[in-house]
Symmetry: C2
Subunit: 139 residues, 2 copies
DNA sequence: TGACTTGATCGACATGTATCGATATATGCT
DNA sequence: AGCATATATCGATACATGTCGATCAAGTCA
């Protein structure tokens, strides 16, 4: 008699794209998959953690200071002076960046020197770099 | 008599690199400067806001879903189903991504379609891409 | 040894935000 | 008109984290 129960959604059903997020077999932590394929929640969480590491003003300034330095390596004390932040705060940021693999820490007596791991940074760039297909970017 | 006041720091003085953050005249919001020069706090804050936009698992999944789709454009309802998040949460993430310029919103009747602004995404990639000098990355 | 410096850790606090349910608004279908 | 659907907005809540002062551990120099 009434077909209400089976024909409830006139618009929705034929439109939905039915995307699955099940694929994306990202490895442990090596070479995060790009955006060109669906991403599992776990892979997205790992990748987000990496992006969060640089998504903080002070930490971006730290990376910029290291890269713009002559030797590509700076002492922790340099940041404390330059960024106007307390020493514990700088120490915290340096730890986050080091734990994420973006910075490499070299101990030299009392001093700690930090340099950028370009490979790790390039991994980030690869994720957000334009897809292979569309090369007309920045045209 | 006592020279304590002038010779207080034996180690520090000759080591400090004396870096200034005053430079970095980044424009309003166009083309964020890379990491190859010191970054002002204001420029770093703007850039951090952009990175924060993609530093969330759900939002990375959204970008990945859009990019892996056939048309490069998805309806908001697609995400609600795929990511297992509530509709208000998805709407929130889409708003953040759109406000940051990473997504472009196209209204079509009741539906809202979202696509990626590749230029904006390329800006992010440019910031974290390796410096011009060191090309031996990924060797 | 003792005074000083560097850097890490701890605890506390304030702020930001991801998430949800409830609701509002607009559009499409009957 | 009346109902269903698609999105956005609002308010509340829980959790993460940036920041600081205080403290601790370790290295350096006189």
């Amino acid at each position: 008699m009434n077909r209400l129960m089976v024909e409830r959604e006139p618009m929705a059903e034929q439109h939905r794209t039915k995307l699955a997020v099940q694929s994306a077999g990202t490895g442990p932590t090596c070479c995060p998959a790009g955006l060109d394929q669906p991403m599992s929640r776990a892979a997205a969480t790992d990748l987000a953690r990496l992006f969060k590491a640089i998504a903080v003003p002070a930490r971006l300034q730290i990376l910029a200071l290291i890269r713009s330095s002559d030797t590509g390596e700076l002492c922790a004390c340099d940041f404390t002076d330059s960024l106007g932040l307390s020493q514990p705060t700088i120490s915290h940021h340096l730890k986050v960046l080091t734990d994420s693999g973006l910075l490499v820490r070299r101990q030299h007596g009392t001093w700690a020197h930090f340099s950028i791991d370009s490979r790790r940074l390039a991994e980030l760039a690869a994720v957000v770099s334009p897809a292979r297909d569309s090369a007309e970017v920045l045209g």
